[in-house]
Symmetry: C2
Subunit: 198 residues, 2 copies
DNA sequence: GTCTATAGCTGGATAGAC
DNA sequence: GTCTATCCAGCTATAGAC
């Protein structure tokens, strides 16, 4: 189950390295996440990246997995809440995940191990979404021929990611209207958004 | 109007360099598009990258602009055709542009000049889409309060890009159904897709 | 225009001291 | 566990020959 090789070591330092890697990656792009840069951001020596993760690839995979596990947990919570559609929309519409996802996609373009990792995770994630939202929509009386759960999932996910990317560039033409339409749609099925009691 | 600096030089070599850059970028990621790698792919010496574009950034900008100009032309053709919605959908659903767009977005994350370039272009592109599709939808009798042109544009663009990215990873759960729904939507407004006479 | 050569960096990974 | 020191590879950009 380890990313590749590397030592168990001190989880504090290990996490500090992953935190640093995430930060550098999101603010300056994956190419800036070098061993030296990440280690210096974490306040430790660059040799520790090899020690903990075996290689840079190992570090990226460990980072991706950590994020994926967190996302998967949050997906479960969102879909199990009293307002699964609102929960889902809020989850994928979370800005903090978007940048890092984009970087991993670009990274995957030329690192095979990363690509495989993301593909696996995406399928698992999508399956969970489909299983859950199929039941939810049925409960709401939505005709699955008229509007399949897969279309709802892909529609919400893609709109959310697209707008987040554009906003990162300072482009937001038409976003207000589109967001309003999405929220109208959810509201019709699930009622007004209630603040989560957590 | 030049990207930055650089010499006019031989347009054949210049284009060969841009072609090579595009190829390397799409197949191995932007980080692989180094002066040496690109020049060697183009069959010339790496010093020519500096000669033609002044710097690597200059090369990326020149490459982006070349692609943007082509896309802008094609957008005009698509939106001016007898079936603007089909034309638009086919244009954005073109696989060959998707990879390169993704790389530029990632690149922009840590190269300011690239980010500015993309932001400018995106706004211009969106404006043209909005101006044109607003009229088209009106002609089709679509109520702009019910379904604003901006929502149609963002919806189609985001779905298309999202699915193309996923397919690049070998993930296509739910794509068939979603594509079918999109095409139903266009068909209702614009009729069966007619093969372009060109 | 296109080349060779090179200066000056920065990178990943590892050996070995502590 | 964490460090220093180091090897070697690869990069950008430029000077100058042809």
């Amino acid at each position: 189950m380890p990313a590749r090789k590397g030592n168990p070591g001190d989880p504090t330092t290990r996490n500090a390295l992953l935190d640093a890697a995430q930060h550098v990656m999101c603010t300056e792009g994956y190419a800036a996440a070098t061993t030296r840069r990440v280690a210096s951001e974490a306040g430790v020596n660059s040799a520790l990246v090899s020690y903990y993760f075996g290689s840079l690839d190992g570090m990226f995979i460990a980072l991706f997995r950590r994020g994926a596990e967190r996302s998967f947990e949050r997906l479960g919570q969102a879909l199990g809440s009293p307002q699964p559609l609102w929960g889902f929309w809020d989850l994928i519409h979370d800005r903090s995940n978007s940048t890092s996802t984009m970087e991993f996609i670009a990274l995957a373009n030329h690192r095979e191990v990363i690509r495989d990792e993301i593909a696996d995770y995406s399928r698992r994630f999508r399956r969970a979404q489909l299983d859950s939202l199929t039941q939810v929509l049925q409960r709401y009386g939505v005709d699955p021929d008229e509007l399949p759960a897969s279309v709802v999932i892909l529609g919400l996910s893609s709109l959310s990611r697209f707008m987040l990317i554009e906003e990162a560039f300072g482009v937001d033409v038409g976003h207000k209207e589109t967001e309003a339409k999405v929220e109208d749609f959810i509201r019709r099925l699930e009622g007004e958004r209630c603040p989560s009691p957590t």
